[in-house]
Subunit: 216 residues, 2 copies
């Protein structure tokens, strides 16, 4: 059951998959990747085979230590508890609370409202303004929070789970042409994080399933 490397089910453009790819890279965890194309064949996440693995029909999912975990933050918390170095949650409970609050703000308060399946339901003509409104509204709150929690990164000067959520969300904001000038703190932290190797190797433009025209 427990033999073999962890297997990450991932899609290059999925911001939630990217969060987990960063965690795996930061913790130097060797893994295999199975790519799940969310668009091709009407969405490979809807296959019976994948649904058996993750009934939510979403990426990421991680097979590890004999179990399969869905939900990116649950995966990251599991990695943190079983592979604690380097830590992605600070030692101080109050700082941990800040990290989790920022992570949840993005993972529950922004991303789900602008993901592919919701935008499909919203309809083509309203998609862009819907996504922009959702992201801007979340970023207004986030910018204000970061002004009191941030050091070099989202919470103090150590990379944390909050940063793993921030960078992929800023990439989504770019994709939907959100004006980032009202968010100097978000922009500054994002820029610093993108210089780190773990954020670069996990980037959507460098994945095995990245289409040639989006590679960098």
């Amino acid at each position: 059951m427990q033999a073999g490397k962890p297997i990450l089910y991932s899609y290059f453009r999925s911001s939630c998959s990217w969060r987990v790819r960063i965690a795996l890279a930061l913790k130097s965890i060797d893994y295999e990747m199975v790519t799940v194309n969310l668009i091709k064949d009407g969405g490979q996440q809807f296959s019976e085979e994948f649904q058996a693995l993750n009934p939510m029909k979403q990426v990421p999912a991680l097979k590890i230590d004999g179990i399969t975990i869905g939900q990116s933050l649950a995966i990251i918390e599991y990695l943190e508890e079983t592979r604690p170095t380097p830590r992605l949650l600070p030692q101080d409970p109050k700082k941990r609370a800040h990290v989790r609050m920022i992570s949840d703000l993005i993972a529950s308060g922004i991303q789900p409202l602008q993901n592919l399946s919701v935008l499909k339901q919203v309809g083509q003509e309203k998609q862009l303004s819907w996504a922009q409104q959702v992201i801007s509204s979340g970023f207004n709150a986030l910018e204000r929070i970061l002004q009191s929690t941030a050091g070099k990164y989202c919470v103090g000067d150590e990379v944390s789970m909050a940063d793993l959520c921030l960078v992929p969300q800023v990439a989504n904001a770019d994709r939907y042409k959100v004006d980032l000038t009202p968010y100097p703190t978000i922009s500054r932290i994002n820029k610093s994080l993108l210089t780190l190797e773990a954020f670069q190797v996990s980037h959507p433009c460098r994945q095995p399933d990245t289409p040639p025209e989006l590679r960098a």
Copy 2:
């Protein structure tokens, strides 16, 4: 700074507030409640005073130990770390992963898509079918997951954070007239949990801000 009881900012009908009220009750934490009416005066969460406290303009928020935490799961994790008895996360990391996966499935995968502010944007005529679709889709996945994780409750036989998410989400399902017959495991666990005192005293029908016609 740290003097005084924790203060919970809550709205009787907010399912995320209910999660935290259950945690506080289970852990026998004495607290004060400030009610925030999400409908009255155009929504009291939009007041400058409340925004300063929680820039996300959402309940719940908890003032505790000199900090203010937003996001219900971040609050519950903080309570778990600082007031560990009784535990709301199992000791075994794999079971903890299951608890967090189920919690996130509800907190990121269902609730945000059917909350008041989203339904407002969806528009009156589509609201009900939108909420039903979102909840059913999440419950299809959840039912399947629970079939392998559940004992008496969502994960094994101990009440966990996952249960604190389940019961309020089932109440939302009821509110939006979702047919629960396809979800026998969800229904069974919900029924068991509702017999527990912590779930009863925290119930939306028994809060200081519950309107008389909804009291029970």
